[in-house]
Amino acid sequence: MAERGAKSLWADAPRLLVLGFLALLLLMPYIWMISASVKPLDELFRASLNLWPERFHGIENYAKVFSQIPVFGYLWNGIVVCAGILFFQLLFAIPAAYALAKLRFPGRDLALGLVMLGLLVPPHVPALPLYLAFSKMGLLNTYAALILPFTISVFAIFLFRQFFKALPDELVHAARLDGIGEFEIVWRVILPNAWPAATAFAIFSVVAHWNDLFWPLIVIEGQARATPALGVLYFRSDEAGDDFAALMAAAVIMTLPLVLAFLFAQRRFVEGIATTGLKG
């Protein structure tokens, strides 16, 4: 490494040791989860501290998970729900944010005030009446029940508005002079320029909704529409019982998709969470 001022490995060692120790502590649940998922039960119950099993039982454990619960069904539900939520969030928030950032119209200040008010309200607050309404409309146990409450993200409006305000006005003026209609401007001029903010928000939104347990627990019963979070919960209480090996295998399977996505696009994830976090 030809970095200027780069320390020698020797001088850097204490820092690396402390970081390494912290990292190892943080990784403990993962290490033991993976280790347990390839051990036979009798070895687990002996509580040995060997990471590698004496008798490799991984195939049986993972096979048990796939045979007992609809793994791909859960993952598919998770994808449908996250994609559905993100689609509507962007569809509703981007035009609104553009108008709030670049156009003058009556009620704009009121709309901005409502956005700020909405930022203060955690999603648990409207949960009870939404449950009642969905239950009356026969929407429980549907994708609609999982997606609809999150179609509006005031945070997305806020984030995109900040971003659009920084875009030069000339961009919009030039498009108008070219005879592009106001609605078209949103999709043909603003959206192509909104990708950095959209990526950051997409990561924030998918991480939040892939991991959410509170709302799915309220509106979903049974396996048909269960998300990955619910799937693990069901497996834990019903099928697995004391079979920690299979439970750990299920946990590995359900954690893997998002973690893999993260490892492939690490920089984007970290930047996405940092931008959305600091603007929020």
């Binding site: 609104a96 409502l114 203060l120 607050v125 949960a127 509006i152 991991n211 690490q266 600091l278």
Partner: protein, 311 residues
Amino acid sequence: MPEALSAAQPASFQAKSRRLTRGEALVGLMLNLPAGIAYFLMLLLPSLATILLAFTDYELGALEWGWIGIANFEEMLEDRGFAIALRNTVIYVGLVTPLSILLGLGAALLIEAGMRGRALFRAVFFLPVVSLTVAMAAAWQYLLHPTIGPLNAFLRLLGVTSPPFWLSSSDWVLLSLGAIGVWENVGYNMVLFLAGLSAIPRELYQAAEVDGTKTWLDRFRLVTWPMLGPTTLFVLTITMIRSIRVFDTVAVLTQGGPNKASEVLLHTMYKEGFTFLRLGYSAAITLVFLLMVLGLVWLQTKALDKRVHYG
């Protein structure tokens, strides 16, 4: 003639700009319409309904219900379960917030201090943020299991004869959940601190060096810490708001037990509403939760004001 021309021109311009303004107003409203409808139906209306619900004795499936004023809130004052949940939530926030902020800041400073392993450590610390909480809670359940868990196996190896029942002893359960909470939040705070650190201008460190600061501690005290002030305040608020929402780990691991020792606000709200079907009382608890969140935001704004006025 020239006068007429010059008078006509601004007029036509005005007309044109007025037309544009009127068009702009219409477009602005139209673009906000879908978001506005969703906001009204999914956020505003149900949130207002929660406030109304809190003043009723509505129970799910009940045929009759009525306004009972503040009776739900009076009941709350007498309700030992609610008092415990409130106390536990405060303890949990009090545990998770300082620890995850200190560790997050420490990790960020250490990562920033050198070039080696930056991406690797950042990824490792961030991993819990993108991991499925419910699945990782199951992993923690195994790790902390009193008899077959690796942690207690390790403690026995060290000579501890009867290591704690981490998640099923009322003395330890909150601490254990707090530790999991810290584990969940460190990476998030680290990322925010890293962003804050990278925004500190290098010239400040050079200036401090010219002024004679030699040690790392002096540099931290004189430059890094003051410049991180706004980030720290923000991280403080967001960690408190994130940890006051603790639900997943409690719902998966303890369901509030043993003997309510790990009962927290949102879990009580969930249980009252969806297990005991007492929606009115559950809504009242939701309002208390909302007030606490608003209180935290209010404190943050006040702290920010102080900075502006006296800083």
